[in-house]
């Protein structure tokens, strides 16, 4: 149960002004029979009270403004936001898929928590996120009508759920834990350094590629901001599936989140396009790569090792190509040796730098370095870190240093 507070009282007596981009109350999506509403609810205000001691009336007004600003920054044309209850905001999304809306809500809550408690303590502020479908005929411009529709949607959803009580039902109702992120060091053997780190997300239950990609983007942009503020020049690799950027709405949202990052921080990001469909036309590739390229250091592509040419990627401004040697866990090392040699040849013919991931043994690491891969990553090189820290001197001596 949320703890009520002075923040609440003030908010009730002073209704939240509507966002500047408030649309007309026309249905968000006329092609669908429902709206998708994201509910953000503060579950516990105590961490805020602990942090901001003193006049709670003033603090609550400040927090209120801050929350509103954070939400408004993420509103696209057609989106609507209301504060339906004192500790609860609802955003009605125009034209976003469920996955994209979920990812966007999570990004907003994270930003709110970071803005209120700072990066390091953001996890202490619990904000619940819930997506609910509401009827398309709801007057979404009216906060009261929206609140009623949400209550009804919640009741409907509760009726669909099995009765709680049994341990398995309690377990089923629990929210999944948030993803954890790690950063895989990318060794540059020719220079003898590690100065790039690839962001990876681990989820308890496998998410859609879109959810994964938005979560990775949020984590990577946070790290890029930190590195920028610390004056570090490390590079963060951000994997993103081709299909996540293939649809216009998702791509636009992804680009918008990226464009909010300050320019110096954007220059620390390298986007790694994965799961490219075979035979994707170059024009389509340029359509996807072009907008991202403007907002980052480079765009690279991970490919299946069987590719025979990467000329179309070079023409689409892809800056490097790579393979994941860990993709086939059953492959014999001899066959991975052959794949590496072949792939290096393909990349070399297009004069593109090559990278290899999933390098799990010293044999593979040595062979990759010997073959001429420009970047090598995997547990044989260095275990992933919880965040990118600094440039590390790393040569053959370090590769072969006995490890515990």
């Amino acid at each position: 149960m949320p703890r009520e507070s002075g923040l609440v009282t003030r908010a009730v007596t002073t209704p939240t002004p509507r966002p500047k981009r408030q649309p007309s109350p026309a249905p968000v999506s006329e092609s669908t029979s429902r709206h998708l509403a994201g509910r953000l609810q503060f579950l516990d205000l105590q961490p805020i009270k602990d942090r901001y001691k003193g006049d709670w009336e003033q603090t609550s007004a400040r927090i209120d403004r801050l929350v509103r600003m954070r939400i408004e920054r993420h509103l696209a044309p057609g989106d609507v936001c209301h504060r339906v209850r004192p500790t609860e905001h609802v955003i009605v999304f125009a034209g976003l898929s469920t996955d994209a809306a979920q990812a966007k809500c999570e990004l907003i809550t994270r930003e709110i928590a970071q803005a209120i408690l700072g990066d390091s303590d953001a996890d202490e502020l619990p904000i619940d996120v819930k997506l609910l479908p509401i009827p398309a005929d709801t007057n979404i411009a009216d906060a009261d009508a929206l609140g009623r529709a949400l209550s009804k949607a919640e009741q409907d959803e509760a009726q669909k759920q099995p009765h709680v009580g049994s341990p398995e039902n309690v377990a089923n109702c629990a929210d999944p834990p948030p993803p954890t992120f790690s950063y895989e060091p990318m060794w540059r053997p020719g220079r003898g350094v590690i100065c790039s780190y690839r962001c990876r997300a681990s989820f308890e239950s496998e998410p859609s590629s879109l959810q994964r990609d938005f979560a990775v983007l949020a984590a990577a942009t946070k790290q890029a901001r930190r590195l920028m503020l610390e004056g570090r020049t490390l590079v963060i690799g951000v994997p993103v599936a081709f299909e996540s950027l293939a649809r216009y709405n998702e791509r636009r949202e992804y680009m918008r989140l990226l464009s909010e990052l300050p320019q110096p921080a954007r220059k620390l990001l390298v986007f790694e396009l994965g799961a490219l469909p075979e035979g994707v036309p170059q024009s389509r590739l340029q359509e996807i790569v072009g907008p991202i390229r403007q907002h980052c250091r480079a765009v690279i592509a991970e490919l299946p090792s069987r590719v025979t040419t990467v000329k179309n990627l070079q023409d689409a401004a892809i800056a490097a190509v790579g393979i994941d040697l860990g993709a086939d866990e059953c492959a014999a090392e001899q066959s991975l040796f052959e794949q590496m040699a072949r792939f290096c040849g393909v990349a070399g013919r297009a004069r593109l730098p090559a990278y290899a991931r999933g390098v799990s043994t010293l044999s593979l690491a040595a062979a990759a370095a010997s073959n001429g891969f420009d970047y090598i990553a995997g547990t044989a090189v260095m275990m992933p870190l919880d965040e990118p820290r600094r440039i590390v001197r790393f040569g053959l001596t370090e590769l072969y240093r006995p490890r515990a």
Partner: protein, 121 residues
């Protein structure tokens, strides 16, 4: 006559080395990767081990370390055609790991034979 173990994943290279070593009147055992090489080494206790560095299934440096730990008196010759990386070569690392001699590929037969001699003779 000494017993020489040749470890190399490339069949053509392995065959050529076997021929050179036999011409110098030694007996030869051969293995196509580090794991096989280590097993043969422990089973037959050769006088000399010639090993490549870049190999699948336990590469050369790991193999040299293991052999040196198991048989401190064996003579180990490392060979590699891999490039120098950032001023350090695989052969330097091999020496640090316990190799007595290092031969850069491609090599002349006399070079390889010379690298065997201190222990083989």
């Amino acid at each position: 006559v000494s017993l020489v173990l040749v470890i190399d994943d490339e069949l053509a290279m392995r065959t050529m080395i076997e021929r050179i070593v036999r011409m110098d009147r030694h007996e030869v055992l051969s293995a196509s990767d580090g794991n096989q090489g280590l097993a043969l080494c422990l089973a037959h206790q050769p006088d000399v081990v010639i090993t490549d560095i870049i190999m699948p299934d336990r590469e050369g440096i790991e193999t040299i370390r293991e052999i040196r730990a198991a048989q401190p008196s064996v003579r180990i010759v490392a060979m590699s055609g891999a490039p120098t990386l950032n001023g350090v070569s695989f052969l330097e690392i091999a020496r640090q790991a316990g190799a007595d001699a290092a031969v850069q590929k491609p090599f002349r037969p006399a070079e390889l034979i010379a690298s065997l001699r201190p222990a083989a003779n």
